[in-house]
């Protein structure tokens, strides 16, 4: 109202006065308001109905996409970690198996070695026994021969002296002397 009044008084100024201050002139105000209302409404309508929903849609889609991509990345990461763990487990299993196999092989070889040793030992023992037996047999035989030789020698010596000794006495005397 005040502005309109100002503008009114401005209009009634004499002709040689400076022109009125345009923002306070009243004649253009209805027109300004009219066009402002229309243009602001048009802008509001087209922004709120068409443009802003489209933009918010695009922005939302993008953030959804980013979120889902991040999710997927996390999932893949998890899978990779699982695979890593599985791999480590397999490696550990393989190592344990290898160790077991090696241990088994060692044990087997050791058993074989002991068995072989035992067998060879037994064989040697047997051979030794046989040899000893033969030696003792030979020794007994030799002893008998020695006795016979001694008896014969004693017989010859006694007959030389002109004595007569029975074979049994000689044998008895020789064996007593030998033992």
């Amino acid at each position: 109202m005040l502005l309109a009044l100002l503008a009114e008084t401005a209009h009634h100024l004499p002709d040689d006065a400076p022109p009125p201050f345009p923002p306070f002139e009243a004649w253009h105000m209805p027109g300004q308001l009219f066009w402002l209302a229309i243009l602001f409404a048009v802008l509001y309508f087209s922004l709120s109905r068409f443009i802003l929903p489209k933009m918010s849609d695009t922005i939302e889609k993008r953030s959804d996409r980013i979120a889902s991509d991040l999710d997927q990345a996390a999932k893949l990461n998890e899978q990779a970690e699982e695979a890593q763990q599985a791999l480590e487990l397999r490696i550990a299993q393989a190592k344990a198996k290898a160790r077991e196999t090696a241990n088994k092989a060692t044990a087997k070889v050791e058993a074989e070695m002991t068995a072989e040793t035992a067998r060879v030992d037994a064989e040697i023992e047997k051979k030794l026994d046989a040899a000893e037996e033969r030696i003792s047999a030979l020794r007994a035989n030799a002893m008998q021969n020695v006795e016979q030789i001694a008896v014969d020698a004693a017989d010859a010596m006694t007959s030389r002296f002109g004595l007569k000794a029975s074979a049994a006495d000689l044998k008895k005397a020789v064996s007593a002397a030998l033992n």
Binding site: L3, P19, F21, P22, P23, F24, E25, W27, H28, M29, P30, G31, Q32, L33, F34, W35, L36, A37, L39, F40, V42, L43, Y44, S46, L47, S48, F50, I51, L52, K54, M55, S56, D57, T58, I59, K61, R62, R65
Partner: protein
């Protein structure tokens, strides 16, 4: 000495002159399409063209135009959210429209010979009345009579209310006035300054060309000042649009949460 200064009348007010482009009237009311309406139309068309084009892109990885528009979108959305809260987002399209309407009008006004639509009090006043009507209308519709608790913040002793309530009422009534005047006065004063320094520089340099060398020095200083003022006014053009929009958000926040 015969300076060009004396011949030419400097009229910094001339740029605010409204001239008819198309004579129109409804029921005896003059609603002519004027240069003011023309530049307002230009701003609205540019605004719709820019955001419409940017919104039609819908690229997952935005290009330059789409990026700029989306930064604008995010800027206004953050402004509304931080001052009026999540419920304030129902007014987002309104604040967005208001901000970019004023922003485009101010920026178009920075182009030489262009008309600044926001340099007219009737325009800024109408926008301010629209804001305050929405604040009051929505405030009462949503909160009923408890909207008027806005004028009596809780927790004060009774005697204080005798002073507090009138102050609150006056400050509320002052809102549309200050909202309208701030934008209007900033644009008006800024453009008068620009015009003054520009004509001053032109005339002094003209005088220097016709012999008065000292005038040329002052003219160059005035020219430098004009350049600096242009930068300042560019800032003011953006800033006042922002101030208008953020104060709208603050007032809308009162309508949404009147008991503070």
């Amino acid at each position: 000495m015969n300076f060009a200064l004396q011949n030419t009348a400097i009229d910094p007010i001339h740029q605010f002159q409204v001239t008819k482009w198309l004579d129109l009237s409804i029921g005896g009311v003059d609603i002519s399409f004027t240069n003011a309406s023309g530049f307002m139309l230009l701003g609205v068309v540019l605004c719709i063209a820019f955001f419409g084009y940017a919104a039609s892109k819908k690229a997952l990885v935005p290009g330059r135009t789409q990026s700029m528009a989306e930064i604008g979108y995010g800027f206004v959305a953050d402004m509304v959210r931080s001052t009026a809260g999540e419920e304030g987002l129902r007014f987002f399209p309104f604040v967005f429209t208001l901000f970019f309407f004023v922003f485009f009008a101010n920026m178009i006004g920075m182009v030489p010979y262009a008309f600044t639509t926001t340099s007219h009090l009737v325009v800024t006043g109408a926008l301010a009345m629209l804001v305050i009507s929405i604040v009051i209308g929505f405030g009462i519709w949503k909160n009923g009579l408890s909207f008027f608790k806005l004028f009596a913040p809780s927790g004060a002793p009774f005697l204080i209310y005798l002073i507090l309530v009138p102050i609150e009422i006056i400050s509320f009534l002052a809102r549309p006035v200050t909202l309208a005047l701030r934008l209007f006065a900033n644009m008006l004063a800024g453009h008068i300054m620009l015009k003054l320094f520009a004509t001053f520089a032109a005339q002094l340099i003209g005088a220097a060309l016709s012999g008065a060398v000292f005038m040329g020095v002052v003219g160059l200083l005035a020219f430098g000042m004009g350049v600096a003022l242009n930068a300042l006014e560019l800032l003011v053009a953006g800033l006042q649009a922002y101030v208008f929009a953020i104060l709208t958000c603050v007032y809308l926040n009162d309508a949404l949460h009147p008991s503070h």
